[in-house]
Symmetry: C2
Subunit: 191 residues, 2 copies
């Protein structure tokens, strides 16, 4: 049983928080501007990229030694045609640069909220969460915390793979926005 601190109560925050609850963890929800004193072992930044940066800046000490999951897809939402992070970097790496004493993990950004809630793609394909981080142990901590939730976890490599995960998340959103796929669908993983 792990204590989870969720920043963000939007559809992604709710779907991820509920998944951790379904797996038997204690989940507390906060708004992005809340200063949280009793922060959990796993922190999920289920807020837009700019808000995630602000949390990292303003709560850096509180986040020391925690596992912080960045789920953002840092799109330019005006053009829906590019990302707002440097092209050789990623939101997760930018956030990690602000949190040198924190284990930053990229995750959940290649999953649409509805599939994180339903735990399936199509009629019955499992939903796999891709995680990238420089600390492999963090992947196992998160995998364990999600056991029983119905979500599966895959180790997508080092934190720098966040660049590719964010490209994939971006692409998936453009496919849905252009109605090539639905927001209940998206990319699945076949092992």
């Amino acid at each position: 049983m792990t204590k989870i601190t969720m920043f963000g109560k939007g559809n992604m925050g709710q779907a991820i928080g509920q998944s951790f609850e379904q797996a038997g963890n204690i989940v507390r929800y906060f708004a992005s501007k809340d200063l949280v004193d009793d922060i959990g072992d796993i922190v999920v930044l289920a807020v837009p990229y700019q808000a995630a940066l602000e949390i990292a800046k303003e709560q850096r000490e509180r986040l020391t030694a925690k596992i912080v999951i960045d789920i953002s897809n840092p799109l330019n939402f005006e053009t829906f045609d590019e990302l707002v992070v440097p092209s050789d970097s990623s939101a997760a790496q930018e956030i990690a640069a602000l949190l040198p004493d924190t284990t930053v993990v990229k995750g959940f950004n290649t999953n649409f909220a509805s599939t994180l809630s339903s735990k399936k793609l199509g009629t019955n394909h499992p939903v796999v969460v891709q995680l990238a981080t420089d600390d492999e142990k963090a992947v196992e901590v998160i995998r364990k915390a999600l056991e029983g939730s119905g979500l599966q976890v895959i180790n997508a490599g080092k934190l720098k793979r966040a660049r590719e995960l964010e490209a994939m998340g971006f692409l998936q959103m453009t496919l849905a926005a252009s109605e090539q796929i639905s927001w209940n669908g998206g990319f699945g993983i076949f092992q």
Copy 2:
């Protein structure tokens, strides 16, 4: 019935060529150094990125007004940890810059060869080919040419989305290389 010119006879070239043949097209195969005189309406560069660049440079006039599909994943195969194209660009965009009078399409790079052959992911999930190009009509030409092959086609947007498609292809290869998935699996699309 479309005339298809395949550069490359590796496992990707064979799987893609056979798919076009299964759909009733005429497919001719060439090595990357062959100078081809009677070039088809659709040309597939099923060769490594550097070889694709060479073909673009050396056969520019022959490729005028053709549809050229770049399938490459421009990895640094020594490190398996980065791409060799500028981070704000893509192999397809670099090739397109050499071929101003050609319709360049990014495609097939998010599909592993074995799934292009078997036409399925897992027990029975359809294999979808993502295509990105600035000429939407080219997507329809390719879609039509693949009708009956068992492969489905999705319009992944403008050619600049090749950056994201190549990131996804790269990620998929790292997942297989690290045995998180098999080379018979990979990313599928749920609509």
